[in-house]
């Protein structure tokens, strides 16, 4: 599979994602500078984490108008797979490709720690390889990851099973203590209505090799790779 990994000024997880896709999973991945107008022959797009444009104005607000985002929007409209991680999730929300927005953590603290994720549905190209009842343990590292959407949007997300991952404790319960940022409904990641665009705040690319302390992140990339 050919992955395009977008690179904005201030992206800093781009190389990690390329490393996992190429060297760990054995697929083709290339960096795509944000000034590009075309995705080339990409089968899937990853919008990586970082601090695009220094988080100026709002997280993702300026990056979402980079030329490459027009190509991503067109790709997504045709059913192409797009995954946003952390800042990538923020960019996809700003771009209107995903519902809601990410705001300042309720604690006002930058949270950098491992979390447990519960996968609420396997009916998506981003979750289909996650074993039943498996909790995914991967790290978060963000200051603005509190998922917000109005009540009507949240009920729509639930009705259409668009909430892909929730922050939970080691027992799998979505408690307030297990929520690192104050997200509504402990939401860690969502997908669009068509289920081909998803975003999550935690970093699967930072937990895809045992030397890094865990391999659960691979399950998300492997889901994309499974046909």
């Amino acid at each position: 599979m050919n992955f395009a990994v977008l690179q904005f000024p201030g992206s800093n997880c781009d190389q990690d994602v390329v490393h996992v896709l190429k060297n760990v999973l054995g697929h083709s991945a290339r960096l795509l500078w944000h000034k590009e107008n075309s995705l080339g022959d990409a089968d899937a797009v990853i919008v990586p984490g970082g601090f695009s444009y220094g988080d100026y104005l709002r997280t993702g607000a300026i990056a979402r108008f980079s030329p490459v985002m027009a190509a991503v929007t067109e790709f997504a409209a045709k059913g192409g797979l797009v995954l946003g991680i952390c800042n990538g999730f923020q960019i996809l929300c700003e771009a209107g490709l995903l519902p809601g927005a990410l705001i300042r953590n309720r604690s006002l603290q930058f949270r950098c720690e491992n979390v447990y994720l519960k996968t609420l549905t396997r009916n998506s190209p981003f979750t289909r390889s996650v074993p039943e009842d498996k909790l995914i343990r991967i790290p978060v590292a963000h200051g603005e990851g509190c998922y917000f959407a109005d009540a009507a949007t949240i009920s729509g997300l639930k009705a259409n099973s668009q909430i892909l991952w929730q922050y939970v404790n080691a027992e799998g319960q979505a408690t307030e203590m297990a929520n690192p940022n104050g997200s509504i409904e402990n939401i860690a990641g969502v997908c669009n209505r068509a289920r081909n665009v998803a975003g999550l705040m935690p970093h699967p690319e930072r937990a895809s090799e045992s030397i890094l302390g865990g391999v659960d992140g691979r399950l998300i990339f492997q889901s994309i790779l499974e046909k």
């Binding site: 104005l57 709002r58 607000a61 300026i62 108008f65 929300c93 700003e94 809601g100 927005a101 705001i103 300042r104 953590n105 309720r106 604690s107 006002l108 509190c146 917000f148 959407a149 109005d150 104050g182």
Partner: protein, 79 residues
């Protein structure tokens, strides 16, 4: 001519910064402090001399990029 723009979190949106500032003000003994909302203030120099045209341009800019309608409200004056 200048646009003066204020962007604030919507009422329904959690505003932890505002809450924290409110707590600090109360803690310091400032009296009569109600809820606090922390937002952004922008000043934009306008080269176009037509206030009505400028109003339309700034309104579009606020809607499209300067604010996020999911979480923020904006208001502005042209002076």
């Amino acid at each position: 001519m200048k646009a003066k723009i204020v962007i604030l979190p919507k009422k329904a949106v959690l505003d932890p910064q505002g809450k924290t500032v409110q707590g600090a003000l109360k803690h310091m003994g400032f009296e009569g402090i109600g809820s606090v909302h922390v937002g952004k203030y922008l000043e934009i120099e306008l080269e176009n001399g037509d206030p009505e045209k400028a109003r339309q341009v700034i309104d579009q800019a606020c809607h499209k990029i300067l604010s996020n309608p999911v979480i923020e409200d904006y208001r502005f004056v042209i002076e």
